[in-house]
C-alpha cells in the first residue's frame, strides 16, 4: 500500500479543516495509507513573499526536517506546493534535502492523476459548478486540465467555464491586506464573472483563493458557495 504524507497547509489546518479531512478520505478510498506528521506547520510562503528570506529559510528547514523520509507528500494547495517545489531551492540553493524532496511533493489533483493514475474517485455532487484557476497552480505547476478532468467524472456535476477563469482572484497573500482596495476590486471582478455563469458552486484547488472569493461573495450577499476540489471529490 502506498504511504502518503499529508501536508495540509496552515490555512487548511486552522481555517478549512474540512478540506484536509476530505483529502484524507479521498486518498484512503483510493487505497493509500495516509499519515499526518504533527510537527508540520507552514510552507514559509508568507515570509518569503514578504521579503523575509531568513525567516522563511528557517521555517523551510523545519519543513524539511518534518518530512524527512516521506515517500509522497500531498498538498491541497497549488501555491504551497509550488513554494516547496519551486522556491525552496532559492532559499537553500544546492541543498541536497531540497533536491531529494522536489520530485516527491505533489499537489492533490496532480497526485491523483499522475501518481495514482486515477481520474474517477466515485464521487457524486449534483450541481452546476465553475472552476477558478489559481495562479500558482496554473502558471508554476502548469495545472489546467487535471482538476477539470476530475470534476468531469463526478456524477451529477455539470461544469461551466467562467469567462475569466485564469484571472487572479486578488488574494496574493499579504497583498490582500496591504492593498485591500485593489485586492477588493480584483475579487469583485472575479465574482461578477462567477455570477454570470449561473453556477451554485465555485471550485478551486487553493483554499486561500477560496477564502478570498467566499469573503467577497458573502459580503455581496450571494448564495454561491465555494468548495475545494477535495471536498467535491469526497462527496457521495
Amino acid at each position: 500500500m502506498m504511504r502518503v504524507s499529508l501536508f495540509v497547509t496552515c490555512v487548511v489546518d486552522q481555517v478549512f479543516p474540512n478540506v484536509g479531512m476530505a483529502m484524507a478520505e479521498v486518498l484512503e478510498r483510493a487505497g493509500c495509507e495516509v499519515e499526518f506528521r504533527e510537527s508540520q506547520t507552514c510552507c514559509a510562503q508568507p515570509a518569503f513573499n514578504s521579503g523575509y528570506r531568513d525567516q522563511a529559510r528557517s521555517v523551510a528547514e523545519h519543513f524539511l526536517t518534518t518530512f524527512e523520509g516521506a515517500e509522497y507528500i500531498v498538498v491541497p494547495s497549488g501555491s504551497c506546493c509550488s513554494m516547496i517545489s519551486h522556491h525552496f531551492a532559492e532559499l537553500l540553493p544546492g541543498d541536497k534535502r531540497v533536491h531529494d524532496l522536489e520530485p516527491r511533493v505533489f499537489e492533490f489533483s496532480q497526485f491523483l492523476l499522475n501518481v495514482l493514475k486515477v481520474d474517477d474517485v466515485g464521487a457524486s455532487f449534483d450541481a452546476l459548478v465553475t472552476y477558478h484557476d489559481s495562479c500558482h497552480a496554473l502558471r508554476e505547476l502548469k495545472i489546467k486540465n487535471g482538476p477539470r478532468q476530475l470534476l468531469g467524472n463526478v456524477r451529477g456535476l455539470r461544469l461551466v467555464e467562467m469567462d475569466i477563469a485564469e484571472e487572479c482572484c486578488g488574494f496574493g497573500g499579504t497583498f490582500s491586506v496591504k492593498f485591500p482596495e485593489i485586492s477588493g476590486g480584483m475579487v469583485r471582478t472575479k465574482i461578477d464573472s462567477i455570477e454570470r455563469t449561473g453556477a451554485s458552486t465555485v471550485v478551486s484547488i487553493d483554499s486561500s483563493c477560496l477564502m478570498q472569493i467566499q469573503g467577497a461573495l458573502s459580503r455581496a450577499g450571494s448564495k454561491i458557495r465555494t468548495m475545494h476540489l477535495a471536498e467535491i471529490l469526497a462527496s457521495k
Binding site: 495540509v8 496552515c10 487548511v12 489546518d13 486552522q14 481555517v15 478549512f16 479543516p17 474540512n18 484536509g20 484524507a24 499526518f36 504533527e38 510537527s39 508540520q40 506547520t41 507552514c42 508568507p46 515570509a47 513573499n49 514578504s50 521579503g51 523575509y52 528570506r53 525567516q55 528557517s58 521555517v59 495562479c135 500558482h136 496554473l138 502558471r139 508554476e140 484571472e167 487572479c168 486578488g170 488574494f171 496574493g172 497573500g173 499579504t174 497583498f175 490582500s176 491586506v177 496591504k178 492593498f179 485591500p180 482596495e181 485593489i182 485586492s183 477588493g184 476590486g185 480584483m186 475579487v187 471582478t189 477564502m211 478570498q212 467566499q214 469573503g215 467577497a216 458573502s218 459580503r219
Partner: protein
C-alpha cells in the same frame, strides 16, 4: 506602508470600463495570434529573443562600440549621454545652433524619462508630439496612461473638448473626424519642423541603424521630413544584427496588439545618401545611460533591461487593469514599471511598489523576451526588507518564524487567535490587517476544531 491613492481610480466606473475593455481587447488579439495553432514556434521564438538580449547585454560594451562605428560610417553622429541632463543639453544646443523653432516628436518613453519636452519648451522651442494619443494628451497637459495606448482613458467627447479648446476646431464626436482634425494640424508641423526627434525600438549594431515600429506614419514623417533627425535611445535597445530583427519583429506586434507586423517598420541607417531625393541631412543618435549601467551590474536582475516595450504585461496585469497608468510613480507603469522603478530610483523611493502585486505571474507568462518579472519582484521585496525600516513587520515575522518552528505553540496560538478574530467589520478589534481585510470582504467562520485536532481524535 505608504501606498498610492487608488480610491479615485477604483471608484471611477467610466475609467474602469475603459481600462478593462481596452486591455482585454489587446490581450485577446494577442492570444489569437500566438496560440499554438497560429504560431507553433512562439515559445521557441521567445526563448531565442531572450537569448539574443542576454548575449547582447552581457557584451554591451562591444555592441555599443560596434554601433557607434557603424553609425559614423553611415554619416551619422553618436552622442553619449550619461544622464537626462546631458541628453537634453545636447538637443537644446543643436536646436539653438541650427535655429530650430519647431520640433516634431514621435512616441518615445525615453524622452518622457528625461523630460525633454519641458527642457525644449523652456528654450521657447515648440516640441509637438505627433502620435495621436500623445498629441491629445500634450494639448491637454497630461501624461501617457499606457505604453501602447497612451490615451485609452479618454472618451471621444474628452478629445473633442481638448481640440476645441486648443485647436479652435468645431465640435466633432466621431473618431474619424477627430483624427482628421489632428492629421491636418500635425501635417503643418511635420513640414515646418526643423528637427524630428524619435525614440528607437531597436538599435542594430552591425548596421548602425535605428528601427522604428508604428502604425500611424508619424515616426516615418518625424524621421524623414525635417532636415535633422535625432534618435534618443537607452543603451539597452541594442541587438547584434539586422537579421535578428526577424525574431523580434515576429514578437513585438503580436505581443502588443495582435498584429503580425505593425503598419510601418523603418530601418534607418544614417542621413540620406548621395542621390536619394529626400531624407534627413543630419542624423544623431543619443545613447542614454541614465542609470541603465546600474541595472546592468545586478546580474540576477539584468534581464529587466531586455524589455522591448510591447505593453503585453500591462494588458494582462490584474493590478494595472484596476488602477491604470497614473498610479505608478514613474513613466514606466505596469509590471515592467514595478521592476524598473526601484532599480533606477532605489528601493527607498517607492518601497511599496514591488509589493503592489498578487504575484499572479500573468506578466511573466506573456513577456516576449521572457523576463522573469515575478522572480524579480520577490527579489526586490527581499532587497527592501534588507534595507530595513519596518521594525514592527520584522519582529512580527521573527515571532512568526519562531512559532512556526514550534508546532505545539503554533497549534495553540492559532486556534486562540482564530476564535478571537472579529468577523464583523465594525468590531473594536478590527485593526490593521484585519481591518483591511474586513473593509473589502467577510472573514470565514472559524471552525470548531482544527485539522490536527480532528486527526488526533480520529487516530485515538
Amino acid at each position: 506602508m505608504k501606498t498610492p491613492n487608488v480610491t479615485e481610480a477604483l471608484g471611477d466606473s467610466k475609467l474602469q470600463l475603459a481600462i478593462y475593455s481596452a486591455t482585454a481587447r489587446m490581450a485577446e488579439r494577442r492570444r489569437d495570434v500566438v496560440s499554438p495553432d497560429a504560431m507553433p514556434d512562439y515559445q521557441a521564438l521567445r526563448q531565442h529573443a531572450h537569448d539574443i538580449k542576454k548575449h547582447t547585454l552581457d557584451h554591451l560594451d562591444f555592441y555599443l562600440e560596434q554601433m557607434e562605428k557603424n553609425v559614423e560610417a553611415r554619416g551619422g553622429k553618436v552622442i553619449w549621454a550619461r544622464d537626462g541632463a546631458e541628453a537634453c543639453a545636447f538637443i537644446q544646443k543643436l536646436a539653438r545652433d541650427r535655429g530650430v523653432k519647431v520640433i516634431v516628436k514621435s512616441k518615445s518613453m525615453t524622452t518622457e524619462e528625461i523630460h525633454l519636452n519641458d527642457h525644449l519648451e523652456g528654450d521657447g522651442v515648440e516640441a509637438v508630439e505627433t502620435d495621436l494619443g500623445e498629441y491629445i494628451l500634450q494639448l491637454g497637459g497630461e501624461k501617457p496612461f499606457h505604453i501602447i495606448a497612451p490615451a485609452l482613458h479618454k472618451t471621444k467627447e474628452d478629445v473633442s473638448d481638448v481640440f476645441e479648446k486648443h485647436l479652435h476646431s468645431k465640435r466633432e464626436t466621431s473618431p474619424e473626424g477627430l483624427t482628421k482634425i489632428a492629421r491636418i494640424a500635425l501635417r503643418e508641423k511635420f513640414l515646418e519642423a526643423g528637427m524630428g526627434i524619435s525614440g528607437a525600438n531597436f538599435l542594430v549594431a552591425d548596421s548602425g541603424a535605428v528601427v522604428l515600429v508604428e502604425n500611424e506614419g508619424n515616426a516615418r514623417l518625424t524621421s524623414s521630413a525635417p532636415k535633422i533627425h535625432v534618435a534618443v535611445s537607452g543603451i539597452e535597445k541594442l541587438i547584434p544584427r539586422a537579421q535578428d530583427l526577424a525574431v523580434f519583429l515576429k514578437l513585438l506586434g503580436r505581443s502588443a496588439t495582435g498584429q503580425p507586423l505593425s503598419v510601418y517598420t523603418s530601418f534607418l541607417a544614417g542621413p540620406k545618401r548621395e542621390g536619394e531625393p529626400d531624407g534627413p541631412e543630419e542624423f544623431y543618435l543619443v545613447l542614454l545611460d541614465n542609470g541603465r549601467t546600474k541595472l546592468l551590474a545586478d546580474e540576477s536582475k539584468r534581464q529587466s533591461l531586455y524589455c522591448i516595450r510591447c505593453g503585453a504585461c500591462l494588458n494582462h496585469c490584474p493590478v494595472y487593469r484596476k488602477i491604470g497608468g497614473y498610479n505608478y510613480p514613474w513613466v514606466y507603469s505596469g509590471p515592467i514599471g514595478k521592476i524598473l522603478t526601484p532599480q533606477f530610483m532605489g528601493i527607498e523611493h517607492d518601497p511599496w511598489l514591488p509589493f503592489a502585486s498578487s504575484l499572479c505571474g500573468a506578466c511573466g507568462e506573456v513577456c516576449p523576451v521572457k523576463i522573469e518579472i515575478p522572480r524579480i519582484l520577490l527579489e526586490l521585496r527581499s532587497d527592501k526588507v534588507a534595507k530595513g525600516g519596518d521594525n514592527v513587520e520584522l519582529w512580527s515575522f521573527k515571532v512568526w518564524s519562531w512559532v512556526m518552528r514550534h508546532p505545539k505553540i503554533y497549534a495553540q496560538l492559532a486556534s486562540a487567535a482564530l476564535s478571537a478574530a472579529p468577523t464583523k467589520k465594525d468590531s473594536f478589534f478590527a485593526v490593521g490587517p484585519l481591518k483591511n481585510w474586513l473593509s473589502q470582504r467577510d472573514l470565514p467562520v472559524p471552525p470548531a476544531k482544527s485539522f490536527r485536532d480532528w486527526w488526533k481524535e480520529r487516530t485515538h
